[in-house]
Symmetry: C2
Subunit: 158 residues, 2 copies
């Protein structure tokens, strides 16, 4: 709790960043340099997750995806990020927000096409049974035995 003693307070700078993504290995390249600092879990929150994400130029937030049961929210803190959806591309500057309701079949991701670092905050709730569709690659996350597992689009496991 970063020196705040009894207070339920967290300095994001004190959180060790998680680098890279957990996708099957051949899909990980674009995510090697982005850093996620998990803020909700160390504060004891379980109903939703909150991450502060540092995006160097050229990095991507995730494979373009959508969730069946979980809502997602992002807000840009610093720099510029390009949002990709079925509608195409739009640039989000500091303070701009975007939301991805559960079950809306429109994949999204953020990419940093600018020449400088960007930072955004992401929030997503946690729901048993949530599955994830990745429209652009041969990947899906399906719900099995209490968690999500990656499979090919034809159902074979990775």
């Amino acid at each position: 709790m970063s020196g705040q003693g009894a207070f339920p307070v967290l300095d994001p700078a004190s959180v060790e960043p998680r680098r890279g993504a957990r996708y099957p290995e051949h899909l990980r390249a674009a995510f090697a340099t982005r850093e996620k600092r998990v803020l909700g879990d160390p504060l004891g929150l379980t109903n939703f997750g909150v991450n502060l994400v540092h995006m160097p130029p050229g990095s991507e937030s995730a494979l373009r995806h959508w969730h069946t049961r979980e809502d997602e929210f992002v807000i840009v803190i610093e720099g510029e990020l390009t949002l990709l959806t079925n509608a195409g591309e739009t640039i989000l500057g500091p303070g701009m927000a975007a939301g991805f309701p559960a079950g809306k079949a429109d994949g999204h991701c953020l990419v940093n096409r600018s020449g400088r670092d960007a930072v955004y905050l992401e929030v997503g709730d946690r729901r048993a049974g949530d599955e994830v569709t990745y429209p652009d690659v041969d990947l899906a996350a399906i719900w099995r035995d209490g968690g999500r597992v990656y499979v090919h689009k034809d159902g074979r496991h990775y």
Copy 2:
């Protein structure tokens, strides 16, 4: 959707702020000047709420409170806010986060004791049956008929 056309994007500056609190009238004074811009709802999110809150000097975020079933998260975007909990007071500067897990019986609120405006982002999930305890005043929010209603601590309605 603030001119972003088909994109699920929101410029918080385009959102009409909600001023003041919905507490019983004699408890509203400290909240008259703070402005909440609701970001999650206009983006179609329902599992959790996200608000951007503008706090002029002297304003308070809420009566000190805790939730039985809902998690809360805050992060300071701009300025300085003082967090009040059972542990006392601590100042949160820009970038500092705090979390309030469901069921943790420690009331919290943010007050602006600085000489300039502050801005923070708040996230809270939504759970049927959630009730709210206000340790410092004769108020409680209890779950009845699908929503929360305000009562005195002895159960009488306001």
